[in-house]
Amino acid sequence: MALAHTRRLNKELAEIHAGTPVGINLVNADTFEKWLFTIEVMGTSEYEAKKFLLMFRFDNTYPISAPAVQFVVDDTHKAPVHPHVYSNGHICASILGREGWSPVLTVIAVCITIQSMLASCKKKEPPLDNDRYVPRAPENPKKVSISLMVSPLLA
């Protein structure tokens, strides 16, 4: 069963090649470790005419455990300013956590969720604890400690 995650990702890739929802486009899926998508919010919203780069990273426990998902932040890309998106690209969404993830979800389902999370944003502002979180957060969002995640409650 070691190859279970590659077989599942292969299936998902075939579905993605057959067509993706509007505003979601595959950029790169050369390996089964890392996929890149562009996300664009359609219609009128705070993020009109902006494209964001979304990175998925998989380990061999996928789909039993969630992929590591974050916005790419580099010289050419920025994370959206959003109450649930830290300036380092980490996303605070229950479906990406240990509690909310389930194998029913797919890569595209995650993309759609994040797209609609952006679309429903009323006010462009970073998370309250952004300054505290970003310098301490590890590079991989799946490795964030619990105490860092509950920090808004303590602050």
């Binding site: 069963m1 789909p63 039993i64 455990s65 509690e99 194998p103 029913v104 797919t106 590890p138 105490s147």
Partner: protein, 465 residues
């Protein structure tokens, strides 16, 4: 046909597992025959093996454990049929009760610790130590060695006694498992102690009693029965190691597992989840690194590891780990050994052999009062003094050698208790493993679902309309 026709998972044209997303068409036989199941009320279906893997990993995840047996989409309960005998259910219940009692103990303990100063802790440890000594050595010995009145205590009692609870707790961690036995500290310094009661006689008289080798127990030797405390202290870790080795072999034989499955048992069986607010940046960084390591370990465990023995062990570790339970269990050791000792004492009334084995003797009271202190005079024989010192070293003071050896039957009793306890938890582990191995997900028909939503091989019969 009075009942409307209800299709099942076998009537689908294309089956797609919601976990691995493999598809199987009804007209293309699968290379490997796998069992499909429709476990809930919605249209999700899955390979039974995939679903069991998902359930198992949810059960090992503290945040998901409540929903481990529910469909992530419709929330319907999965019905699992497995070998789940009454015995296993009772043991699981017991485990839960013990854990929640442990949690209460943790809360109470936290409260007291916060409002108690170091001196209070010291006093608590000391009085616990005295209590433990009384439980373990018996009332008679306690009255001779310590007495209820702390002013009689020898100076080292103030160091020794508070260390007893600490060493009991430490001995439960794997760190000390092979080196220190829980009862060693209980009688380590005592046998060679000048008994309080004898000390109250004048020192000359005490020396005379020591030298006057009584005819009942001439010279305590290494071979005497019960073993001299010093000998027992040396041999106990040995016996313990041999036992652990044998039991671990028995454990793997029962579970039919490789000894490697308990490789990464943490030193402290629970993960300390109580965190205090910290303001130093360094502390946070250190914490993040630590969490990284913990996550890596978790990943390794998640790594498609479907070995039922390992899963049962992890499941049990999760469900029975609590600080209160561990510390409480450790501190109860003297009480348990006292209880087992008196049980053995009661049993020994019916068996000569057992009485001999436990070396039960009448209370010392009558004998001590009868000692005459005269006759010996002021003999300044150096050889005699050396002999007396040697006797004390090997066998302990006369008091120790001649008193009813409560400590001996308590040690034996504790040993029996440990063996029984190990066997019960092994049985629990074995039943848990068997339960995991025999799990089957109950397959249900598509009753209650609009048939038009389903892609069926054959169209539904017209009798519906």
């Amino acid at each position: 046909m009075s009942e409307p026709w209800v299709p099942t998972v076998d009537d689908l044209r294309v089956k797609m597992c919601y976990i691995c997303r493999e598809e199987e068409r009804y007209d293309v036989p699968a290379q490997a025959k796998t069992k499909w199941t429709h476990p809930c009320r919605c249209t999700l279906i899955a390979h039974e093996s995939c679903l069991l893997h998902w359930i198992q990993s949810s059960q090992e995840n503290q945040t998901r454990i409540e929903r481990a047996f529910k469909c992530p989409q419709c929330g319907a309960d999965y019905e699992i049929e497995s070998d789940n005998p009454l015995m296993l259910r009772l043991l699981n219940k017991l485990n839960k009760v013990l854990t929640s009692t442990g949690k209460v103990a943790t809360l109470v303990g936290m409260g007291t610790t916060i409002f108690t100063f170091a001196t209070c802790i010291y006093l608590m440890c000391t009085s616990y130590g005295a209590w433990a000594v009384r439980e373990f050595l018996g009332q008679e010995m306690f009255d001779l060695i310590l007495t209820e009145d702390p002013t009689n205590w020898p100076w080292h009692a103030y160091l020794n006694l508070p260390l007893i609870p600490l060493s009991l707790i430490l001995s439960r961690t794997t760190l000390w498992r092979s080196t220190v036995s829980p009862i060693v500290p209980l009688f380590l310094a005592w046998p060679t102690t000048l008994p309080v009661r004898e000390k109250r006689l004048d020192p000359q008289a005490w020396l005379r009693i020591q030298r006057a080798a009584p005819p009942v127990h001439p010279l305590p030797s290494l071979m005497s029965w019960p073993p001299a405390p010093i000998v027992a202290t040396i041999f106990l870790p040995l016996v313990q190691n041999v036992y652990r080795n044998l039991f671990s072999r028995f454990h793997h034989w029962v579970l039919n597992s490789e000894p490697s499955s308990e490789l990464h048992t943490p030193i402290f069986p629970w993960r300390l989840e109580i965190r205090f607010g910290q303001d130093a940046e360094d502390a946070a960084n250190e914490e993040a690194r630590e969490e990284n390591r913990a996550n890596e370990r978790q990943n390794r465990e998640d790594d498609g590891n479907q070995d039922p023995v390992a899963a049962a062990e992890r499941f049990q570790r999760i469900s029975s780990a609590s600080v209160g339970r561990y510390i409480g269990g450790a501190l109860l050791v003297p009480r348990i050994s006292n209880f087992m000792g008196s049980l053995l004492f009661r049993l020994s009334k019916h068996s000569d052999l057992l009485r001999k084995f436990l070396a039960i003797r009448p209370p010392l009271k009558d004998k001590l009062d009868g000692f005459s202190t005269g006759e010996v005079g002021t003999v300044s024989d150096l050889g005699q003094a050396v002999k007396a010192a040697f006797r004390v070293l090997i066998g302990g003071t006369r008091t120790w050698t001649e008193a009813d050896p409560v400590w001996w039957r308590n040690s034996v009793g504790l040993g029996i208790f440990v063996v029984v306890k190990d066997c019960v938890s092994l049985l629990h582990l074995y039943l848990t493993k068997r339960e995991i191995q025999t799990r089957r997900v109950k397959n249900k028909s598509f009753k209650g679902i609009d048939i038009r939503e389903l892609d069926l091989i054959l169209p539904p019969p017209m009798t519906l309309f």
